[in-house]
């Protein structure tokens, strides 16, 4: 199920909320049961068979974590950890990378192995990383093993973050799994976040996608049109993914969970290093903590550090999808980050801010082209058209979309900066002086939020494009 569907909004969410809040707060295990049951329905809605893969993964990690916690020797617990990591990566690898490896082997050796056509279980990349972080943390002694199977299953399956993140670490929600309360300010905050995310997804991402879709199918593009298309995709993926994270964080809050932020205005970055501190933060920090640091990070000399960065970024690319363009995308950013680390950051610091923004944005936009097109040859064609291979500076496509989607583009540009947040807090500051400011600001806010929902539903019903991009991962 996806958040921007009618089944979710009109049936699943109201029913889940109703049952959840009918269970009194003191029966937390009961509430956890409701959430677990709801999450399984949510997960199995489209393809029920993969519930079993997830249940297997839950049991495997639940049991191994308990065994690691009880292990009498370091050797024993290390062995169990290796078994656990191998098991998790094995499941992920089988479902996600088998066909990719078969294709690659065929390509290199000219063999004719037939691919198994394994369908990727939704969200497997996300929940595998969550459970691995839990078991590793147990091994490191950072958290205690969870004895309550319901609470643990609840952590893994919690529907707000189940299929597209953020990757929630067990340590961040451990306390809330065992004790949490419902506060009206937290629920209201959750509603705000959910509605904003819903609007970002339906009104911005889905709509700007049209521009990319229409431009990308052409094999002759002017420089301006190629850039416009790439910029459209750049906005689409940001509003799609960060909108989803907003909805996840918002829903989490409604049920009493505080997830960490996943995005922090990535497109205002002044370097690629900064960009990756602001984009999909839960993934970057996961790789940092569970791959980069254990590999030695920057503690084992400069050469080793460069190697570690390279490993992390090849894996980051591969995590995004079983295809060479994702590997290329990871390597692309790995190389840029290494160059920045070596000397470029120091040089950039001396340059005017405008230049640093332009530098970062150009590299980010090109990065998304590599990400968007799953055939490396076509990536090359598209990027070369961005630099004039089409032989035209402008064409009809560019002017047409600029005229008809100019507003949307402008909203996307402003929407990816801090301006809207600043404007909102400015308005709130003005209102604070008025009598009855609570009521006035409440009504103003309700009008805006319901307005966003009404417009979004009008677009949803009108049946434009809907699936979440991050499903594939």
């Amino acid at each position: 199920m996806v958040f921007s569907s009618n089944v979710f909004l009109m049936v699943f969410l109201p029913v889940t909320l109703l049952i959840y809040f009918l269970v009194p707060e003191r029966y937390l295990r009961g509430r956890n049961c409701v959430l677990l049951a709801a999450s399984l329905v949510f997960y199995g809605w489209g393809e029920p068979k993969y519930i079993f893969v997830m249940l297997l993964s839950i049991l495997f990690n639940y049991i191994l974590a308990l065994m690691i916690a009880k292990a009498s020797t370091v050797k024993q617990s290390r062995l169990l950890l290796v078994l656990n990591v191998a098991g998790n990566l094995g499941i992920l690898g089988f479902f996600k990378y088998t066909d990719f490896m078969i294709d690659t082997v065929n390509g290199i050796l000219g063999g004719a192995l037939s691919p198994l056509n394994i369908a990727l279980p939704i969200g497997i990349s996300f929940y595998t990383f969550q459970t691995m972080s839990y078991v590793i943390d147990v091994y490191w002694g950072k958290v205690k093993a969870q004895k309550d199977l319901i609470a643990f299953a609840c952590y893994v399956t919690l529907f707000p973050q189940l299929i597209a993140g953020p990757i929630v670490r067990y340590s961040d929600v451990e306390a809330q799994l065992m004790a949490r309360s419902s506060r009206s300010d937290q629920i209201a905050e959750g509603i705000r976040r959910f509605v904003l995310g819903f609007g970002k997804k339906v009104l911005l991402a889905n709509q700007i996608y049209v521009v990319w879709k229409e431009i990308a199918v052409n094999d002759q593009l002017s420089v301006a049109a190629a850039w416009l298309g790439a910029v459209a995709y750049t906005f689409q993926i940001y509003f799609d993914f960060s909108g989803y994270s907003d909805m996840a964080i918002g829903l989490g809050k409604i049920f009493g969970f505080d997830y960490l932020e996943n995005f922090n205005y990535p497109y205002i970055s002044r370097s690629i290093t900064e960009f990756w501190r602001r984009w999909h933060m839960s993934l970057s920090s996961w790789f940092k903590e569970y791959v980069y640091v254990p590999l030695g990070g920057n503690r084992k000399g400069f050469k080793r550090q460069i190697l570690n960065i390279a490993i992390v970024w090849a894996l980051t690319g591969l995590w995004h999808g079983a295809s060479w363009n994702f590997v290329a995308w990871g390597v692309y950013f790995g190389i840029i980050l290494i160059i920045e680390k070596l000397w470029l950051l120091k040089t950039l610091d001396k340059l005017p801010v405008v230049f640093r923004h332009v530098y970062s944005l150009i590299l980010i936009v090109i990065g998304w082209v590599i990400f968007a097109i799953d055939d490396l040859g076509q990536v090359g064609t598209y990027v070369s058209m961005m630099f004039g291979a089409g032989g035209m500076l402008t064409d009809d496509a560019f002017f047409y979309f600029l005229q008809t989607r100019g507003w949307l583009l402008l909203i996307c540009i402003v929407g990816s900066t801090q301006l809207p947040a600043k404007a909102a807090s400015w308005v709130c500051g003005k209102l604070a002086a008025a009598d009855q400011q609570e009521v006035i600001s409440g009504i103003a806010e309700a009008v805006v939020l319901v307005g966003i929902m009404v417009v979004s539903i009008a677009f949803l019903v009108s049946g434009s494009y809907n699936p979440f991009l991050y499903f594939r991962f």
Binding site: Y400, T404, L408, E445, A446, V450, L460
Partner: protein, 381 residues
């Protein structure tokens, strides 16, 4: 508890309740006239449906189709988009004069399908030439090229020049070229050829097609005028397929008319084996799809037999729905008219064509790229 938070929570709950309870209470719609399709009914819950994923897909369709105020959401969205400068919605251009025109971009136009179909026509032409049966192909220019001047600025559309050039190469003098008569006309004239709210040509557009076809045949058609055929209005409350796609209320209505001679003529019509006394199915004038007043829609094969035709000739028309409003103009010229629609007709067309005195292929040019035609025998690839 802060009042501000409370207001936010209450309004969110109220909105959700409005959506779900409103949809629950509203009676289900079986058939949508505007969308011209049956709406999803209550999904059937069964183990099989659950496991196959059909239940979840049907549930989503059910809620989307039956959502409270469904058409208001759609028309509201169109209005908002239009206000923000969007000029294409659901595959339709909103033109400067308010008319709607189908939007077919170069990427959407299936060039290989188009070429393959032209080759089929060319092979049929060769077969019929050997038998001395006159063969013509009339490709109707798209509404976008006829109304080029009012299209949105820089509007994207397929390269129609190229499409006609390919047709000229493959069909030679068999091509009845309507471009000089239909494209590049004065705004006033051009605006009469296609409906404002539908993808078909109007009675006037079909008249132009008729006049050009007569000229091509070598008939003296200079004296033919639209007034001369005394067009009779069938309805002036037509809102066509393109209207249904955007549901904007400010578009007005179109008029469907037809030559008076056809209204008075005596003939028998057979649609896929069923006999009728008239080609006009007036019951459709009360429905949404009023263009179906011609023949009641499309069939695999339609036969018309005239009592007192001007000649004994029999003509075969291989066609799409554009021919339905064209046939009334030629009704009294042939003793027998057969129309076959390649979408539904599964028999050997080239063998059939050999039995006629004339053969005409009549399509909207963009429709030639839409479906695969098999016109020449024994070459079903």
């Amino acid at each position: 508890m802060k009042k501000r938070d409370l207001i936010v929570i209450i309004s969110a709950v109220a909105f959700l309740c409005f959506l779900s309870i409103g949809t629950l209470i509203c009676p289900d719609v079986d058939f949508s006239e505007n969308e011209n399709r049956y709406m999803q009914g209550v999904p059937v819950l069964s183990v099989q449906n659950l496991l196959s994923g059909d239940f979840s897909a049907d549930s989503e369709d059910y809620l989307t189709d039956q959502i409270v105020f469904r058409e208001s959401w759609v028309s509201g969205k169109s209005k908002m988009e239009s206000a923000l400068g969007v000029r294409d919605m659901n595959g339709v251009y909103i033109c400067k004069d308010g008319r709607l025109v189908e939007r077919i971009t170069d990427a959407e136009f299936d060039w290989s399908q188009y070429k393959r179909n032209l080759q089929q026509m060319s092979m049929l032409k060769q077969t019929l030439e050997k038998k001395d049966i006159p063969f013509d192909v009339m490709l109707i220019p798209s509404a976008a090229s006829v109304n080029e001047d009012v299209l949105p600025k820089n509007a994207l559309r397929f390269d129609e020049e190229k499409a006609f050039a390919q047709a000229e190469i493959l069909l030679g003098d068999s091509l009845v070229d309507l471009r000089s008569a239909m494209c590049g006309a004065e705004a006033e004239e051009a605006s009469k050829m296609f409906f404002r709210t539908d993808h078909h040509w109007t009675g006037y557009g079909a008249f132009i097609g008729y006049r050009e076809y007569e000229k091509h045949k070598g008939t003296d058609a200079e004296s033919l005028t639209y007034e001369g055929v005394e067009p009779q209005v069938l309805t002036d409350e037509f809102q066509g397929t393109l209207y249904s796609k955007v549901l904007m209320s400010n578009l007005g209505y179109d008029t469907i008319d037809t030559p008076s001679s056809a209204l008075d003529a005596e003939y028998m019509v057979m649609t896929d084996g069923e006999m009728h006394g008239s080609l006009y199915f007036r019951e459709y004038l009360e429905k949404k799809d009023k263009y179906a007043v011609y023949f009641g829609g499309n069939y695999g094969r339609v036969d018309l037999s005239m009592e007192n035709a001007k000649s004994d000739d029999e003509i075969l028309i291989i066609k799409d729905s554009f021919a339905n409003s064209f046939v009334p103009y030629i009704l009294d010229e042939y003793a027998h008219i057969t129309m076959v629609d390649t979408r539904y007709f599964r028999e050997d067309i080239s063998a059939l064509a050999a039995e006629y005195d004339r053969v005409l292929v009549l399509y909207g040019i963009d429709n030639v790229a839409e479906q695969r035609m098999v016109l020449a025998s024994g070459v079903a690839e």
